[in-house]
């Protein structure tokens, strides 16, 4: 086991740990896993294996395509009825369990607290479920009068060949509202990531561009890949509002289909979770000429950096001044808390295995407190999320990726923003970067161990080797890790705390780290009598 005190001179080389982990595996498994574990060296362009199938029998963190599709883009969108077409389970498990806050205005629709399912029975599997789906859509329309309905296909639906898209078209014509389906069967693709792509395609095809809207502000933007966990979006929205930036639409925390429909009228797209939503940003640029930049509102420094980048894009002096004013004012509050917390937590070690961006972004918050990330990885990322977007052309397209439709997107002559294209060209000349994501590995320390699709056995070994002070993952990992006496912070749900985004969020996170890292609770694990000599018993009772 490495000695934590030596970490000031750099992280220890975990190559031996990697060998130890691989030793346990059958030969073929070891060969595959070896490529998914990289001893990081940011000075070299290293390659990691990602977005490949999970090995059967290996206890993985991953979920499925349906979970990615229903959970990420439309799950947290409040003004649409999402019908899960399939047996009851999938609809039940995705009922309010991904933590998304939403704030409808008085009288606005919010269907998120409802779970809609066709609850397929064996006769539907044998004779087909299309009729039942049609009836379900009619019943949903009759009772709820929604303005849009979407359908999510589960595993058996794809197998028996129900054509949810045909049903959607027919019902759209019959009921006169927007109805569309997703072929997001759980077996498609290798993880939730496939579901994100399918959801992006569907929403782009059926919603984006449906309505136009008069300009409501001088600077109109969309924020993508922000899921409003613990009120993150509310905090970011507060900052935007103060700076005078109009947030047209968030994809997809505190979001509405109504706002997706006019989101193409924005001047800029900001992408936060690159993995889940870069597709829409890409397609919107092709079709409407709206450029996109990568931002990160996790961490106070990152927030300031992203806000400045946004102000630079618009190049407006008044906006720039306002942004600086907000940053300065907010930073005073942030620094005050950071100074209190940092001495108590500095030098601690963190590990994180979550999602497709959090494992990267949260390292910024930890850095601000002097907490080192010794090992990290994503649950459902692709190589570009690790190595940076420049590797995209080198990524081999395999059969599992081919299963997902790649939309043909063409220029929308009427709405295309030539002015934005010109703006982009000019800014690029000045060195401003668009469509850029550096990825996690270049930003991590040398010798940090990067692991894709981490599994239970590897988690055990990592904990044993690094003895981390804090572990970030999800609910399935939480209590396993805590049994080792290591506190776990859920980054999918924030353990029902938060927000952690932007300046106010950073303050919350620092305080949360103080609670988790400076507490004595974990010292209560051992009994007081563990190290005491045993009391010698006697059979006679002494008076």
């Amino acid at each position: 086991m490495p000695n934590k005190k030596n970490y000031t001179n750099g992280l220890p080389d975990p190559s031996e740990l990697k060998e130890e982990i691989l030793k346990k595996y059958p030969r073929k498994v070891a060969k595959k896993r070896a490529k998914a574990m990289v001893v990081n060296d940011p000075s070299e362009g290293q390659e990691i294996m990602a977005n490949v199938r999970t090995i059967p029998g290996i206890i993985t963190q991953r979920g499925c395509t349906y979970a990615g599709c229903k959970g990420v883009v439309l799950g947290p969108t409040r003004d649409i009825i999402n019908i899960t077409h399939g047996p009851i389970g999938c609809g039940f498990y995705s009922w309010l369990t991904r933590r998304n806050q939403t704030k409808p205005a008085e009288g606005e629709d919010n269907y998120m607290p409802y779970a809609f399912s066709t609850d397929m029975q064996d006769e539907n599997i044998v004779f087909g479920g299309e009729q039942k789906l049609k009836t379900a859509i009619r019943e949903a329309f009759e009772i709820f009068k929604p303005s849009a309905i979407s359908i999510f296909s589960t595993c058996p639906v794809g197998l028996i060949g129900d054509d949810v898209h045909a049903v959607a078209r027919e019902m759209k014509a019959e009921l006169g509202i927007n109805i569309f389906g997703f072929s997001c069967e759980g077996y498609r693709g290798v993880s939730q990531s496939a579901g994100h792509h399918i959801a992006n395609n569907g929403i782009f095809k059926h919603v984006v561009g449906n309505t136009d809207r008069e300009r409501t502000g001088k600077f109109q933007v969309n924020l993508m890949g922000e899921y409003n966990i613990g009120g993150d979006a509310f905090e970011i929205e507060r900052i935007f509002e103060e700076c005078g930036i109009t947030l047209l639409s968030t994809y997809s925390g505190n979001s509405t289909v109504e706002s997706f429909a006019y989101s193409h009228t924005a001047d800029l797209n900001m992408v936060m979770c690159h993995r889940s939503i870069n597709y829409i940003a890409e397609m919107m640029e092709e079709k409407y000429g709206v450029p996109w930049i990568k931002v990160n509102f996790i961490g106070a420094e990152s927030t300031a950096k992203s806000l400045r980048k946004l102000a630079d894009y618009f190049g407006d002096d008044e906006l720039k001044a306002k942004v600086e004013e907000v940053i300065e004012r907010e930073m005073v509050k942030v620094k005050k808390v950071a100074e209190e917390v940092k001495p108590k937590v500095e030098g601690k070690l963190a590990m994180m295995f979550v999602g497709g961006s959090r494992a990267h972004h949260y390292q910024d918050l930890f850095n601000e407190l002097g907490i080192k990330t010794v090992s990290a990885g994503y649950e459902f990322a692709h190589r570009d999320d690790y190595e940076g977007r420049e590797v995209i052309p080198n990524i081999k397209i395999d059969a599992d990726t081919r299963n997902i439709e790649d939309l043909e997107v063409t220029k929308d002559e009427e709405h295309f923003r030539d002015d934005l294209v010109t703006k982009k060209t000019e800014l690029e000349k000045e060195g401003y970067t668009f469509k850029d994501y550096q990825g996690m590995m270049p930003e991590m320390s040398k010798n940090a161990l990067v692991v894709d699709d981490v599994n239970h056995w590897e988690t055990e070994k990592l904990i044993d080797f690094y003895k981390p002070d804090i572990f970030c993952a999800g609910i399935k990992e939480k209590y396993v890790v805590q049994k080792y006496g290591v506190p776990l912070k859920q980054l999918h749900s924030y353990d029902y705390g938060g927000p952690y985004a932007a300046f106010g969020g950073a303050v919350n996170f620092y305080k949360e780290m103080e609670r988790m890292l400076a507490t004595n609770i974990w010292k209560l694990v051992d009994t007081p009598w563990k190290h005491e000599p045993e009391i010698v018993g006697s059979i006679s009772i002494e008076a």
Binding site: T54, P87, G89, Y93, P113, S117, I125, R188, Y479
Partner: protein, 460 residues
């Protein structure tokens, strides 16, 4: 109003389920398998199923829940899942080293027609199952029954695989526990011990899903029914099976395979069901009921009589699983409450018949339904027509509770937002006192919170 779209008027639905009062088979199979010592549940399908089940069970128990998956992709869905399962079995024994792998199917593997028995047979022939290790399988298609059905199927699968009658009768009683909490399993064992009956409780999730914090993680905790115990169930004197939906199948299997007769009782929730359980135990174990048990019963009746005025005539809406709803509703009727609306998504003909018997003349206005479209949306609509004083069910009731301002007691599965269910039993006589305490707690809190100042009382 969070559920502001719920209409008062009940419209007939034949296809759409809204806010289900059930979930799918595999999660039940996973829970049952966790009640076996040294067992790793395995989900034969795509990753999402396993992930969802682990997440839900973890949130309910706040404990590690381990399970593996066959990780289907499109190819396995076309060519069948045999290769995936064979590889999984190999990897699981090599890496995680369980004593038993309990494989259950999903709607995916069922629809493509994977034959688990054949695949597991092949794994055995190919030498992928090490000496002394086991692979048990159950068919649990999600489009049949509910999570309760999956639980029953996995319990039956274990009995079918392990239990043997070697003609050496053992003076012990089999207890099929039904889908209850680890705390309830502990309580059932305590009651049986009080009666001096040697028993095997199966499944048994105590010491599996309520393990102590020691600073060490154990993938296979000390709890769970052992293989030897399950084997020995074939030689027992009698089986007491708790819950028609959860345990009847396994009881019949034991009877057919090993000639162990069974008596089917309710899960001992409330007074009458516990009475019947204790009597069934006494008959099965051929022992008389000790005074200590009668005293526990007496304490329960004492509490009921003391508190009757606060309970009498209160209207209650309930949702959940048939095996827990039936005895619970009977208990409410016993104490003069009025369970007026009851839904259970779990199908089964016996439900309506038995509910009618329990509610019959005492609560003629009661509405109850199970099976398709017997969901929480329907129940909420009934409540909107005429309100109730109390809600009892799983966590998802909190939305109705808040919108309608109705006191709410959490019982059933899943409970995602509170603790206690894994630690404090609701079965047996003392469990019934806890149910009373919970109901009285929320009813009196409501009275305190809403009473005009002049009628706000210190003593109740």
């Amino acid at each position: 109003m969070i559920l502001r779209h719920t209409t008062k008027e009940v419209k007939e639905r034949s296809a759409l389920t809204v806010n289900p009062a059930k979930t799918c088979q595999p999660i039940g199979a996973m829970y049952a398998a966790l009640g076996v010592h040294g067992c790793l549940p395995h989900s034969h399908g795509s990753q999402g199923c396993c992930s969802y089940h682990r997440s839900t069970l973890t949130r309910h128990y706040k404990e590690p829940v381990m399970a593996s998956t066959s990780s289907f992709t499109e190819g396995s869905s076309v060519f069948g899942g045999q290769a995936n399962l064979l590889q999984a079995i190999d990897n699981i024994f090599g890496i995680y080293d369980p004593d038993i792998i309990a494989v259950h199917s999903t709607c995916l593997s069922e629809t493509i027609g994977d034959d688990l028995g054949q695949i597991v047979g092949k794994a055995k022939d190919d030498g992928k199952i090490p000496e002394g290790k086991h692979v048990v399988q159950a068919s649990t298609p999600s489009y049949v029954g509910s999570h309760v059905t999956g639980y029953a199927n996995m319990v039956e699968a274990f009995i079918k695989y392990f239990s043997f009658n070697t003609n050496e009768k053992i003076r012990q009683v089999n207890l099929l526990s039904g889908w209850v909490e680890p705390s309830d399993m502990r309580e059932i064992k305590r009651i049986t011990e009080m009666m001096n009956i040697k028993s095997v409780l199966f499944p048994d999730t105590s010491d599996v899903l309520d393990t102590p914090m020691t600073g060490k993680y154990q993938m296979y905790p000390k709890g769970g029914t052992t293989v030897d115990e399950i084997v020995s169930m074939g030689n027992s004197m009698k089986t007491v099976a708790m819950g028609e939906w959860c345990s009847k199948k396994a009881a019949i299997m034991l009877d057919n395979k090993c000639k162990v007769p069974f008596s089917l009782t309710d899960i001992p929730i409330g007074l009458s069901a516990t009475d019947r359980f204790v009597q069934a135990l006494s008959t099965a174990g051929k022992v008389s009921i000790p005074d200590s048990i009668s005293e526990e019963r007496g304490r329960l009746v004492d509490v009921i009589t003391d508190m009757h005025q606060y309970l009498y005539g209160k209207r209650v809406a309930l949702w959940g699983d048939p095996d827990t709803l039936l005895p619970l509703v009977e208990f409410l009727v016993d104490i003069d409450m009025k369970p007026v609306y009851i839904v259970s998504g779990t199908p089964g003909k016996a439900f309506e018949k038995r509910m009618a018997e329990v509610l019959g003349e005492k609560v003629p206005e009661a509405k109850f339904k199970n099976g398709p479209q017997a969901d929480m949306f329907l129940m909420h609509q009934w409540i909107k027509e005429e309100p109730v004083d109390l809600l009892i069910g799983n966590t998802y009731g909190k939305y109705i509770s808040r919108d309608e301002g109705i006191p709410f007691v959490r019982m059933g599965f899943p409970i995602l937002d509170r603790i206690g269910h894994s630690y404090f039993p609701t079965v047996g006589y003392s469990g019934a006192i806890r149910i009373l305490e919970k109901m009285l707690g929320v009813l009196m809190d409501r009275q305190d919170a809403t009473a005009p100042e002049e009628s706000f009382e210190l003593v109740m």
